[in-house]
Structure formats: structure tokens, C-alpha cells
């Protein structure tokens, strides 16, 4: 009986929060401003953005679980090295899978798959959450944060591809609508990295206009 009492339902309110707050109120990119470099580099097109988002979800979910399971066995002094080893081995796995099955995309992502290792979001969650929580909540936390990172990437990638190359997932939508015939031209600035920052900025703007409590005080 007592055993039953302690057991939390798999998707309790608390656990659901772990999954949902990183999507909005504690978004890694727009609120914590982490992982910006990859958001700039690989969001020129939608497809690599989605693949990158999925890779990070995979790496983060699994690494959070592994670290959480091992959390009592890892000596605190060398925990960073252990965390890095776990992340690195997972990233190598993801990299191999990508180059085996999605060669073109993995070419486009180039070093940025490898650089998932240095993505501050992953290390941050391992340190802040997985190393002091049980496996299931850690898993949810990892998936949630990776998804929070991923949806920003996908939105940015969508707009940059649509406005910069006139395509969505490689399909020439702008041509289908017939915009080029009436004088429309693709926006070359969208392909340049600064535009990713500006789009992220606009997302931050919209988000804070809706959640006023996220607005920082002027110092």
C-alpha cells in the first residue's frame, strides 16, 4: 500500500510541466538564450532544421536518462567529463546514423552535428536537472528542452527557406503560387546568418508581448 502511495502517475501535473514549460516560459533559446550558434548556422533551410531538432531531441533525451541513472555512481569531481563522454558517444551515434541514411542532410549540417556536444542546453540540463533527479523526470525534462529548442529552429528554418529561397522542404511553393511572374524576388538577406538572429528576435518579441512577466526589468 505504502509503495503505491509514493508512486507518481507517469504524466502527473509536475511531469507534464517538465515537458511543457521549456516550450514557452523557460524556452532554452528565447528565454535562457542558449544554443544560439546552431540556430544561426543550420536554419537556412527547413529540412536540416528539422533533422537538427530531432538529433538534439534524441541526444538530450537519452543522455539525460543515462546521467540520471548513473548520478549516484559518478564522483562529483569528474562529473563534467563523464557527462561529456556520454554526450559525445551519443552524438557520434547520431552522426553515423545521419551519414548512413540521410547523407545529403548530414553534409549540409556538416560540423554542427558534432557541435551538438558543445550545445550549452544539453550540458546545462544535465548539470541542473538530470544529475539530481530520477530517470523518468529527467527524460521528460530532456525531451521538453530539446523540443523547446527544436520548435524555434523549425520556425526560423521555415521562414528563412520560404522567404530566402522561395521553397518549403525543397518544394518551390512561391513558384507554384506564381509570385515570380508578378515580379517577386527571393530575399537574399534571409540566407545570411544575421537574419536568423532577427527572426529569433521577432519570436522573442512576440513571446514577451504575450507573456508580460517574461520581460526583464531595466537595470
Amino acid at each position: 500500500m505504502s509503495d503505491k502511495k509514493e508512486r507518481e502517475p507517469l504524466f502527473s501535473v509536475k511531469n507534464r510541466k517538465l515537458l511543457s514549460t521549456p516550450l514557452n516560459k523557460e524556452n532554452p533559446i528565447t528565454v535562457q538564450v542558449l544554443g544560439i550558434c546552431s540556430a544561426l548556422a543550420i536554419t537556412v533551410k527547413l529540412e536540416p532544421s528539422v533533422v537538427m531538432a530531432l538529433s538534439v531531441v534524441a541526444v538530450m533525451g537519452v543522455s539525460n536518462v543515462v546521467i540520471s541513472v548513473l548520478r549516484k555512481a559518478i564522483p562529483p569531481r569528474i562529473r563534467i567529463i563523464v557527462q561529456l563522454t556520454v554526450i559525445a558517444s551519443l552524438v557520434v551515434l547520431v552522426d553515423e546514423v545521419l551519414s548512413a541514411f540521410m547523407y545529403d542532410v548530414s553534409k549540409q549540417l556538416s560540423v554542427f552535428v558534432g557541435l551538438i556536444i558543445t550545445n550549452c542546453i544539453i550540458m546545462g540540463r544535465l548539470e541542473a536537472f538530470a544529475s539530481s533527479n530520477k530517470a523518468w523526470p529527467s527524460f521528460l525534462d530532456g525531451i521538453g528542452n530539446a523540443a523547446g529548442y527544436g520548435w524555434i529552429l523549425i520556425v526560423v528554418g521555415f521562414f528563412r527557406e520560404l522567404l530566402g529561397s522561395g521553397e518549403v522542404w525543397g518544394y518551390p511553393v512561391m513558384e507554384w503560387i506564381g509570385l515570380y511572374d508578378i515580379g517577386y524576388k527571393d530575399n537574399g538577406l534571409m540566407i545570411l546568418p544575421p537574419m536568423a538572429l532577427i527572426i529569433v528576435g521577432v519570436i522573442i518579441w512576440i513571446q514577451r508581448a504575450k507573456n508580460r512577466d517574461l520581460i526583464e526589468e531595466n537595470q
Partner: protein, 381 residues
């Protein structure tokens, strides 16, 4: 006049709090202060009484821009008929130019003001006057053949991302007109650079290269004469070809005390110094171009007079203004000569220095504090 005032007074209550059109208060106020000098005065503290408010300052700049606009309209026609080899009268050139230029001006103003009014309404503050100038500057630094929808997109980008996100007029880091141009330059390079766009409806048989483009290619023999370049009978952006008229605008700005003489002077000095250094260096044809020609070519003078002196984005301290202006001039020539991918260095030089202006001010102020502290120590001892 009286009737208009009476009419405004009559409808005013409807726009006050609780009135029928309360939501449109900003719009009403914008028009009222546009038509009449506002009758509100500051009641506390001592203030300098001056008839110049923001709107009238801005209008003064627009007046200083009118000569370049009118000349630009004529020049667009002149260049067009020169290119197609037709000999037509003065008014036909003006008429053709007006058909090309005025839509750009209208699109720029309508887009920009619509966004300004929208933001003022939603934020519940006054409509900012700053766009009166930007809306005129944007068309003047664009080529005559630019598609109108691009003007609209660039203006919207400049006003929203360049200005409103920072808090509107007076808070922007970058000059809005140059932001619009830089946006177009990077987004649609084929429509705002190269040798096809500077003459309206240019036939393919005619070379439409601007002096800057020729200089960048090393064709210094193909450069027009200095007087043509100085008075502006050359292809280029609509309003910037005539350095002479730009200087007349500069006199208006200086006489009314709107433009900063410190910035203006130091920009030209910076440009001359850099050109002279290149003359002495002389590694290629471009470097050998005379300093006075460098100043007359492209948008150097236009940028110096109307954009580098923008009181919002320039340095605020006196010594800072000298440094800022000097570097703008110097960098503009440097970019031109060293980077053929960006034929007109003035735009990028001003935008770059806009970003550095607060830093320059910071160190000027710090330096001043240090000096005075040292003096204080001395006096104490």
C-alpha cells in the same frame, strides 16, 4: 487658418479620454501639432523657449532635401533620354523623372507612416516625427528602377526592426534610411547594385556604370569629368548625384543649427585624408583618384550631410563628434577602394560608426571625468 483652428477645437473633445474616438487620440494629436504649434508649455523648471519643436526641425531637413529631390527627378529623365539617344526638352525629362521618382516617394511615406501611426496608436503615445525625414531620404538613396514593393518591404523593415523595436524615434541605434538601403542591398543585390539599375529603363546597348563602378573596375579613364560629377549629371541613386546641391542643403542645415558642423567637417576631412593617403600609396588605379573626385563621387557628400549628422545615431559629445565624423569619412573611402563587392562604402561606414557612436561617447565622458578628478586632486593638494 482661424476656421481650421476652430474646427480642430470643436472635434478635439471626441478624441480625449472618454470621447467617441478615444482610440485615435495619437492620430488626432499628430495632425493637430502638424498644423499648429502646440499650446502646451512646460510649467516647472527653467527652459529655453524656442519655436523649434521636433516637427519643425524635421521639416527643415526635408526642406534641405528638396533641391536634391527636384534635381534627382530631372536627372532621372536626363539620364534616361541620354541613354536611349533621344533629344527632348526640359519638361519632358522632368515629366519622365517624376513618373519614376514620385511613386517611390509616395510608397516610402505611406508604408512608413502607416507603421508609425500603428505603433503610436497601439502604444498610446504620440506619433513620432522622425519618419518625415527618413521617408524622404529612403527614395533619394535608391536607384530609379527599384520595384515599388521592394521599397515598401525595406521601409517596413527599417521602421520596425531598425527603429520601433528599440522604442521609436530617438531610441534607434542605426539610421533608419540607411537600414532600409542596407536591407535592399543585401536582400536584392541585383536591383540595387551593378551597372543595370542606375538609369531608368536603360537599353542594353548603353553602359550605365556609375563612376564608382568604373573606379572599382579600374576604368579610371571612363570616369566623367569633375564638374559633371560635382554638379550631378551622372547616373546614380536618385538624390545623391549632385554634390553641389547637397552642399546647398548642408548650408541650410548649418544655418538653422540642425546639422552638426563638427560632424560635417570631420567627415570631409576624414575622406580627404584617406584619399590623400591612397594617392601617396598609389598601388592601383582606384587609389590614384584625386581626393576632390572621391568626395564628389557616389553618396559620400549625401551621406555626410544628411545621414552622418543624424542627431539620434551620431555621437553626442563634442569631441566624440569629431572622432565619429572623421572615422566615417575615412572608412567610407577605405571600403570603396578595398572592397569592390561594396561599391559605395559610405552606407556601411555610417552604419558601422552608428554602432560605435555610444562607445565613443562613453570614453569621451570617462576621459572628461578622469581629467576633472585629477584637477580636483591637484586643487586639494
Amino acid at each position: 487658418m482661424k476656421a481650421l483652428r476652430n474646427y480642430l477645437d470643436k472635434i478635439k473633445p471626441q478624441f480625449e479620454k472618454g470621447g467617441k474616438f478615444e482610440k485615435l487620440h495619437s492620430t488626432f494629436e499628430a495632425f493637430e501639432t502638424f498644423l499648429f504649434v502646440p499650446n502646451t508649455t512646460t510649467s516647472q523648471g527653467s527652459h529655453i523657449r524656442d519655436a523649434m519643436d521636433m516637427k519643425r526641425t524635421m521639416i527643415m531637413v526635408v526642406i534641405a532635401l528638396i533641391p536634391t529631390l527636384l534635381f534627382g527627378i530631372w536627372n532621372v529623365g536626363y539620364q534616361h533620354f541620354l541613354a536611349i539617344g533621344e533629344d527632348v526638352g526640359f519638361w519632358q525629362m522632368v515629366g519622365y523623372g517624376a513618373i519614376k521618382v514620385l511613386p517611390i516617394v509616395i510608397v516610402s511615406y505611406v508604408t512608413g507612416l502607416a507603421i508609425e501611426f500603428g505603433f503610436a496608436q497601439s502604444r498610446g503615445h504620440e506619433v513620432n516625427e522622425g519618419f518625415l525625414v527618413s521617408g524622404m531620404l529612403i527614395p533619394l538613396i535608391l536607384p530609379p528602377d527599384i520595384p515599388l514593393w521592394m521599397v515598401a518591404v525595406a521601409t517596413a523593415f527599417a521602421v520596425i526592426i531598425g527603429k520601433e523595436v528599440f522604442g521609436g524615434t530617438g531610441m534607434n541605434i542605426l539610421n533608419p534610411a540607411l537600414t532600409a538601403r542596407a536591407f535592399l542591398f543585401f536582400a536584392y543585390p541585383q536591383d540595387i547594385s551593378g551597372d543595370k539599375v542606375w538609369i531608368a529603363d536603360k537599353p542594353d546597348t548603353f553602359s550605365g556604370a556609375t563612376p564608382l563602378a568604373n573606379a572599382a573596375l579600374g576604368n579610371t579613364d571612363a570616369l566623367p569629368s569633375f564638374s559633371d560629377t560635382f554638379f550631378g549629371f551622372i547616373p546614380g541613386s536618385i538624390g545623391e548625384t549632385s554634390t553641389f546641391l547637397v552642399l546647398i542643403g548642408a548650408i541650410i542645415l548649418l544655418a538653422t543649427g540642425i546639422g552638426s558642423a563638427r560632424i560635417l567637417l570631420s567627415v570631409f576631412v576624414g575622406g580627404l585624408v584617406m584619399s590623400l593617403i591612397f594617392n601617396l600609396w598609389g598601388a592601383n588605379e582606384y587609389m590614384m583618384i584625386q581626393p576632390h573626385m572621391q568626395i564628389a563621387m557616389g553618396g559620400f557628400a549625401f551621406g555626410a550631410v544628411y545621414m552622418a549628422t543624424d542627431p539620434v545615431t551620431a555621437s553626442q559629445t563634442h569631441r566624440g563628434k569629431y572622432i565619429y565624423g572623421f572615422l566615417v569619412g575615412l572608412l567610407a573611402i577605405l571600403f570603396r577602394v578595398f572592397n569592390p563587392a561594396y561599391p559605395e562604402g559610405m552606407m556601411l561606414a555610417i552604419l558601422l560608426m552608428n554602432v560605435f557612436a555610444p562607445l565613443i561617447d562613453h570614453y569621451v565622458v570617462e576621459g572628461n571625468i578622469k581629467r576633472r578628478l585629477a584637477r580636483l586632486e591637484k586643487a586639494k593638494a
